[in-house]
Each structure stands twice: as C-alpha cells, then as structure tokens.
Symmetry: C2
Subunit: 153 residues, 2 copies
C-alpha cells in the first residue's frame, strides 16, 4: 500500500508474531528504561509487578517493528502522532505477541495530494489478552494524477 | 520523589542531555523501525526527510531514559498511558536533546492510598526546538499512614 485510496476505512493489517526474550527485555531496559522491574529479575520480585516485565516503550517499539515488517507500508508515509497509548497488561519474558491495526478514519487534504489516516492498533499476547493499544495518525500520499501526454507538433 | 504529595501541580523535572549518534539511530532502526529514512543514509536522501532521522520510538525511548536517569522517581510508580504523543520536528544524527516535564494534574484515589499524576513533557534539541511532546499518566503511591505504637501491657 502506497496511496491513501488503498487503505479505506475498515482496512485491517495483521502482522507476524514476536517473542519477547528475557535478553531482549533486559537489553532494551539497560539502554532506555532502567527501572528495577524491567532490569533486574531479583529487584522485580519486590516491585508492584512481582516479576520482570518489558518496558512499555519496548512493547510500543515492537508494535512498530511488526507493522513495518508486515511489508504493507511502502516508503513515503510519515507518523504524525499517537493518542491513547495504553498498556492494559504487562508483557513477560517468553510472551509472543502480534498486532492488528484497522484504518478508522481517512481525511484527504483539500487538494487530494495526501490524507491523514487514523489507525486503531492493538497488540495481543499468546492468550489473546490485549497488552498495548493506540490510536495513531499517519500522513499518506495520494495517487499521482495521470499526466496527459501531449504530442509534439 | 516517592509519594504523590511530593509532586504537586507545578512540579518541574529537568533532565540531563542525550546526544543521538548515527550509530544509535541505525541500531534502534535495525531492531525496531526498519524504514529507509531511519536505516540507510543513502535511501533517506530520496525520502520526505531528505536525510537520516531517528525513529520516533527511539526519541520517545530516550525521553523515558532521561526521565528515569534523572533519579527523581523512585520505584513504585507505574506508567498508565500516554496521550497526544507528537513529533513536531525530526531528530538528526548529532542532535543533543533534553527533557522538561511538569506535573499538571494530581488526582488522589478516594482512600488517598495513591494518585494518578498527569505530566506534560517536552523534549527540545540544542537549538531549543521542540522535537517530542506527550501528556502522560502515572500511578503514584501515597505516603504510608503513621502507625500508632501500642505498648504491650
């Protein structure tokens, strides 16, 4: 999909899956979210989560990875923003997730050169429990106009 | 800061800085956001950005890193969600950013055991331009009640 007329309201993307290894959870936490419950299995036992859980930013980044690797988006689209980013359940080492994203709004510019597409995304784990949701805005180009060929005189 | 009475409305956190190296931008993109304009300087030249830019999820993860490493939050707080996540300007290799976050709302539970604190966050680059904003919700414990000591008879 390259142009916004290829993703009308109701378009659904379903991605491949990703398994969160303990190593990936720890590596992300060391770099970007060094809180004890993301970083250290022993300290996590004393935390509100009682065990190691993935950083919410790790979870969100994996959602992006799965969407990009779905191969459904060609270059030229730009993420404008995300609303209502929520983590209803933790992600634990060994969890396998996949993503479903649905186009819920398409607002073409006045010229029709591009549109803002709103997507409703949810990530579920191997038990079908939702672990991440968001509502995102993406700028998508319009199909180039057919240019009329003019024969040279 | 550990309890919500330590972060009344108007509390401001200012973090240290972080410089986005080209290597870190590429490493994040390879793992989590393999789009050409995050992954490949040559392909980025043909993109809407005209040059390599950091993944928005990389930028958001760095904001989290800076907030955690500010040392102002002790363990026990949990991020509930993020709204109005926006990337008003790209982040380029070599950019140095810092974060400012302000408590804009504190809603204690009925029992006073905990509160939901809303933070308004912005990340700026070395030219003072805003590159990332969000409004986040954090669950923060209340201060434990003083327990009355009862002398044994």
């Amino acid at each position: 999909m390259r142009y916004y007329d290829e993703m009308p309201v109701g378009t659904v993307l379903e991605t491949a899956s990703y398994t969160f290894t303990k190593e990936a959870i720890l590596a992300f936490a060391r770099e970007y979210d060094p809180q004890p419950f993301h970083l250290d299995p022993a300290a996590a036992r004393d935390s509100v989560f009682r065990t190691l859980v993935a950083s919410g930013w790790h979870t969100a980044s994996v959602a992006m990875k799965l969407l990009v690797e779905s191969g459904r988006f060609e270059t030229g689209m730009v993420g404008l923003g995300v609303d209502e980013l929520r983590w209803p359940r933790p992600v634990y080492p060994g969890d396998t997730v996949r993503v479903r994203s649905e186009a819920v709004g398409v607002k073409p510019s006045r010229s029709g050169n591009r549109a803002v597409v709103r997507w409703s995304m949810s990530m579920s784990n191997q038990r079908g429990e939702v672990v991440l949701t968001w509502s995102s805005l993406q700028l998508v180009p319009g199909r180039p106009r057919e240019t009329t060929k003019v024969d040279s005189p």
